[in-house]
């Protein structure tokens, strides 16, 4: 059972199914976000359906590129023998 699930995520032959399932989940989440009941919203963005999806994607991209910028351009990343 565990092996089946793990193989589904690892084997190349399931790549297409995996991708389709992934996009389906994304669409369902956004649709669900439009449908859920919002009792009270403290901030403006909490009233916007789909905000969390946008913010999650934006955060991910921002973190990747800001970190890599700091690593490569600001010299945080060094050769492994830097301290030797």
């Amino acid at each position: 059972m565990i092996k089946l699930v793990v193989d589904f995520f690892g084997d190349e032959r399931h790549a297409k199914t995996r991708r389709r399932l992934f996009y389906l989940v994304l669409v369902l989440i956004v649709i669900a976000d439009f449908l859920v009941f919002r009792a009270r919203a403290e901030y403006l963005w909490e009233r916007l359906p789909g905000w969390s999806a946008f913010y999650g994607f934006g955060s991910c991209v921002l973190l990747i590129f800001v970190s890599k910028f700091l690593g490569h351009q600001c010299g945080l990343m060094r050769r492994e023998d830097y301290y030797d």
């Binding site: 565990i2 092996k3 699930v5 793990v6 193989d7 995520f9 690892g10 992934f22 989940v25 994304l26 989440i29 956004v30 669900a32 976000d33 859920v36 009941f37 919002r38 009792a39 403290e42 901030y43 789909g50 905000w51 969390s52 999806a53 946008f54 913010y55 999650g56 994607f57 955060s59 991910c60 991209v61 921002l62 973190l63 990747i64 590129f65 800001v66 970190s67 890599k68 700091l70 690593g71 010299g75 945080l76 990343m77 060094r78 050769r79 492994e80 830097y82 301290y83």
Partner: protein
């Protein structure tokens, strides 16, 4: 029947027989003690135990309340899981160190006064350092030594703060600090923040944990930072500074995690990030925020240990720790992967996993306290957490490029320990109210609302979308990252350079001057002194002595023994006296 058995002492005293036990008896014993500790925690009642006076101060060895019971519960459960994970070890050293470490952590949790706290605090430092040294590589020795140096510095600050605080307030009992941050409380806070790995005092953690033994790192991931969170909750709830430190910390950890190539160092950066939520929660200080912080500590100990156990299992089996050297293990280690992923879902706060019901409480408390920036930053850190722990690390470790490594599942005890932690991660997520009942304040928070579920899934799954799109940008690189340990590692090097180059040269110049100029001068002076002594002083003394000798001989001749000679001499004397009197007086 005693009312209270201190679970910390159970561990510390329980460590003594371990070297004398062998084989399965030892295995049974190292599982028995944590089990007894869990029972001791479950049966204890609130109150003060071990109250005494020492150097004129009130000492409370064990102050039992809901908060200390909460931490003691998860610490003793974690000790049991950690011991199961380490059961295959043949040497007693690591078991003993782990026992003393856990016992000291429990000692801190129950400490009612700062002196007791400090005693156990030091016990934790030394016992945990052994878990790094036990790796027995040059790299581990150096990292362990740095770990000790940093913690001892923090302890000195803490002790200084405790002494000043004691003089200032007249009491060493641990209570929420009142009246702002003075010098004494700042020192105490610095000692606590160092152990909580709050930047810039964080680098000891990410430096040492990945160098510890596979089993030792599991213990280390659980206790040091969480005892620091606990004491912060005791002494500094509602300190505004902590909100900002915690928020920065949450992002700091995920930014560094992007750059990291060492699997356990990546996880260590996520400890920094997750402890950020707890520190921020304590800083906000409302009942809900403190509940969120301490419940997140509870959940964090279990899922983080699970993640460290998963990564440790891979290192144990393959002997490799760099993501650039791993990949394709899903075929040979599917169970390890599945258990690791449960930890990853828990830390990422997926619904029905533990992080979902605890982390969200901190974020909700920040929103309730009208801290929009904190909410946004912590949500961004959540995205980063899933990005690395749930996507990057498992992808490059278990999937990615197949490195053709010969691997197999780790020993059964390791899988059982991971299974225990995984069950708890899910159980907390599914039955959050069991955990909520243990929290120090009444809980008015419902995690499973439609909007919370869709929002969380939105953030997480669209983070996954970002990962899929920008996968190549995340490829691990064969590098290390410069953190604040740079200051003392390079600082120490500069110091050694200073000692070996300018100071050594100065020392050589001084000794050269003394050898070429000062010493000959002193020799000459000594020789001149000798000459004066021999030819001047000695000659004078000898001359005087000889004169006295000669005078004595001459006088001896005058002593003839004839009365007429003496009478003649007396008459001559009287005439001479009269002559002198007559001439000189007049």
């Amino acid at each position: 029947m005693t009312d209270f058995v201190h679970p910390g002492l159970l561990f510390i005293l329980g460590a003594l027989p371990i070297p004398f036990l062998k084989g399965s008896v030892r295995k049974a014993y190292v599982l028995l003690i944590p089990t007894l500790a869990i029972l001791a925690v479950l049966t204890m009642h609130p109150g003060s135990y071990g109250v005494a006076r020492f150097i004129g101060q009130e000492i409370i060895v064990a102050e039992v309340d809901k908060l200390s019971i909460l931490f003691a519960t998860v610490f003793s459960i974690m000790a049991l899981i950690g011991m199961v994970y380490a059961l295959h070890l043949t040497h007693a050293g690591q078991h003993i160190a782990a026992f003393v470490y856990v016992g000291s952590a429990l000692g801190v949790v129950f400490a009612g006064d700062y002196l007791t706290l400090f005693l156990f605090w030091e016990g934790m430092t030394f016992a945990s350092a052994y878990l790094v040294f036990a790796q027995r590589s040059g790299q581990a020795f150096r990292a362990g030594f740095r770990y000790l140096m940093v913690h001892i510095t923090g302890s000195v600050a803490l002790l200084g703060g405790i002494v000043l605080h004691g003089f200032g307030t007249g009491s060493l009992l641990i209570a929420p600090i009142e009246g702002g941050l003075g010098f004494a409380t700042c020192l105490i806070l610095a000692g606590f923040l160092l152990n909580a790995a709050v930047p810039p005092l964080n680098a000891w953690l990410t430096d040492a944990y990945p160098e510890a033994t596979v089993t030792g790192a599991v213990f280390m991931s659980a206790f040091t930072t969480k005892t620091a969170v606990y004491v912060l909750a005791r002494a500094f709830p509602g300190t505004d500074l902590l909100v900002w430190l915690g928020t920065v910390m949450a992002l700091y950890g995920v930014i560094y995690a992007v750059l990291e190539n060492d699997c356990r160092r990546l996880l260590a950066y996520h400890i920094v990030s997750q402890v950020g939520y707890m520190v921020a929660g304590i800083g906000i200080g409302t009942e809900m925020a403190v509940n969120g912080a301490v419940s997140h500590a509870f959940a964090h100990i279990l899922y983080k240990a699970l993640l460290f156990m998963g990564a440790g299992a891979v290192i144990h089996v393959t002997g490799r720790r760099k993501l650039t050297e791993l990949g394709g293990l899903y075929r040979t280690m599917p169970v390890t992967l599945a258990l690791y992923m449960i930890g990853a879902f828990a830390i990422s706060a997926f619904p029905f996993f533990s992080g979902f019901v605890t982390k969200s409480m901190v974020v909700a408390a920040a929103a309730q306290d009208h801290r929009a920036l904190v909410v946004l930053a912590l949500t961004m850190a959540s995205s980063g957490t899933f990005l690395h722990t749930g996507l990057k690390l498992p992808y490059y470790m278990f999937f990615g490029t197949d490195q053709g490594l010969e691997a197999r599942e780790p020993p059964r005890n390791m899988l059982v320990a991971m299974g225990m932690a995984a069950v708890l991660c899910i159980a907390i997520g599914v039955f959050p109210h069991t955990l909520y009942a243990l929290l120090p304040h009444p809980v008015d928070f419902e995690p499973y609302t439609g909007v919370h579920v869709t929002e969380s899934l939105g953030v997480l799954m669209f983070t996954a979308l970002g990962f899929v799109i920008f996968l190549r940008a995340l490829d691990p690189e064969n590098t290390i990252s410069i953190d604040t340990d740079w200051f003392y590692r390079m600082g120490a090097r500069q110091f050694m350079w200073l000692a070996e180059k300018p100071l050594a040269r100065y020392e050589k110049a001084v000794s050269d001057v003394s050898e070429t100029a000062a010493l000959p001068f002193l020799h000459g002076m000594a020789r001149a002194g000798l000459r004066i002594d021999l030819h001047g002083v000695d000659a004078f003394v000898n001359g005087v002595a000889r004169s006295i000798l000669r005078g004595g001989l001459a006088l001896r001749r005058l002593q003839s023994g004839v009365v007429t000679h003496y009478a003649l001499a007396m008459v001559a004397g009287v005439i001479a006296a009269i002559a002198i009197f007559a001439v000189a007086w007049r």
